[in-house]
Symmetry: C2
Subunit: 345 residues, 2 copies
């Protein structure tokens, strides 16, 4: 009997950041909780930012974040690499450098051979090491389905920190990676994706969001990374935290190969719907096709950084970023107004 | 129709730290991985310590740890409190003060009402606040079963840090909490536990391992917290990290009410067996009953600290600890020898 290779995506119902709890429901629960915020906690849960900032008292912030999810690809090494790149990204989104990662692992010993841990962790370790960080430990449990992620700590000089709360009217919005991992990974799961599409998407998801070193000295007013809540969800959180409005040009959005084909075929997952509901009251579209609307809420795993940059330097910043992120584009602008997004043609 | 209250333990197969991946298997996987250790990482994965220590370069270590598990009790508020106390404990085990916690949440939206998040997080927040720490964020996913935990960061002056690697021949071993949560929680799940037993166990599991402030200035050669791998498992890890041998007196072990009754009835879970297998080659018993052997490998959730203290000051240290931890006892001693444990009558 031939031994079929294990396809990790077949072991779960939904993968990657698409498995996040719906943003709207999460926001409601958080609003009902009284969460104390000591003076040293410069950024906590209040702005739904990518990570928290803790004042170390020596001119630096400690950046702490965590992320974990179910398999989004079939190959263990790639899944490990994506899980690591995705978790490290939140530190980059605050302008910092990741230093220590701890593993969050749920492993189904009843359904998968423990040997899979080797390529899984090797894939993750390669990315963690490439980021200049190290693995400091972790916690693992036996579970029904595989989940992998990391809690990552990094550091940034206080004067250099980025948050999602500083976007200003007149800024241009730069997105560093192409969109579409949500629909493409759903297509992979239902065997409707070409291997070329998946290979490019994996390349994108494993790329570290190391943007900072390309644009040292350039003014960045706000930053976030685009993950499970999609471009619209994370941009809206930035607008809320900053008290501004965003206008995004659909024609400028970078898109992974195959993503529009998949969206045209309505290859969606639950997060497309919950993301759409989350932003519904605060987003408007003019002349958008159904597929373009889905793209705006497509749940990204290890997506790009969304940077809010003064208009005057935006083109120069984009050119520097393009040296490492070929798909990076200026996708829109920030204006004064109620927290909302207008997607225009 | 009467609406029955939700019993969280009925929603999972096994709860708390009993759901950890078997220590022996985990150790094998870790040994096969090449994990780089930069100079700033004073303690990483190499000694299977409770948390990692990162040199901040200003006289302090950053302590980073994480822990998460399935429901071990039926009440959401208590489960939240236990999950928080358990995660915070690893920072205490390194001699530090916890400062920032991030939530690790897997929630079964298909099986449990989202409203449960409110008491769950309130229970956790109360403990985090009591510890002098704060909630800085987190990550949540939709999953088949409920899991809750925290990634916690704390700090400690370098000269004050405790590790599991400093135990010395001649030390006395102090355990700060009574044993038995593993069998008692299995008894709860199968409805064989009295409510008095469970109440006392919950009280023990929610108690913060704040020991440090009671014994400031006292010399502690090594410390660890006793959790999923049981007293034998965590003590053996301390022996391995320190290159010493431990002798533990069974008659001195503090035990939670009902735990021996449950062990006499062989109310066990999978972790009892995997913990026993993990320590089997390095542990010997003289005159131990079957129940006493199970107690030594009983998987603890939010268990006590195991401290290795110079014999000369052990009694004085114990008296100070007893002011807050009534069950604390001197349970044995450290000797020169191969890493191993002798349990004597």
């Amino acid at each position: 009997m031939d031994k079929q290779p294990i396809r990790l995506t077949e072991t779960v119902k939904k993968g990657g950041c698409a498995a996040k709890l719906p943003a709207g429901q999460l926001r409601k629960v958080l609003q009902n909780l009284s969460i104390p915020k000591p003076a040293s906690l410069a950024v906590g849960t209040e702005t739904m930012d990518d990570a928290c900032l803790w004042d170390l008292g020596d001119g630096r912030y400690m950046i702490q974040t965590l992320d974990f999810f179910t398999p989004i690809v079939d190959d263990a090494r790639s899944f490990g690499a994506i899980a690591a790149a995705n978790a490290l990204s939140d530190v980059y989104a605050m302008g910092g450098e990741p230093k220590v990662a701890l593993t969050i692992l749920a492993f189904p010993t009843a359904h998968l051979p423990l040997e899979l841990l080797q390529p899984l962790m090797e894939g993750a370790l390669e990315r963690i090491t490439a980021a200049g960080a190290c693995l400091g430990g972790g916690h693992s449990i036996d579970d029904e389905t595989l989940k992998l992620g990391f809690s990552v700590t990094g550091f940034v000089d206080k004067s250099e920190a980025w948050t999602n709360a500083g976007a200003k009217a007149g800024d241009a919005l730069i997105l560093t990676k192409a969109l579409g991992t949500g629909t493409l990974m759903s297509a992979l799961k239902s065997k409707k994706a070409s291997s070329e599409w998946i290979d490019e998407a994996i390349q994108s998801m494993t790329q570290l969001n190391q943007v900072r070193d390309l644009i040292m000295g350039d003014k960045i007013n706000a930053a976030t990374d685009v993950t499970g809540f999609g471009l619209a969800g994370h941009c809206l959180q930035m607008c809320r935290a900053s008290g501004v409005k965003a206008t995004i040009r659909l024609s400028s959005l970078p898109v992974l190969a195959g993503a529009m084909e998949c969206l045209n075929e309505e290859i969606l997952n639950k997060a497309h719907y919950s993301n759409a509901a989350y932003v519904d009251d605060n987003v408007s579209y003019s002349e958008a096709t159904a597929s373009q609307r889905w793209l705006c809420v497509d749940p990204q795993t290890s997506g790009g950084l969304l940077l809010s940059v003064p208009q005057s330097s935006a083109q120069a910043v984009l050119e520097k970023i393009k040296a490492r992120f070929a798909h990076a584009e200026i996708i829109g602008r920030i204006e004064a107004g109620e927290a909302s997004i207008v997607f225009e043609g």
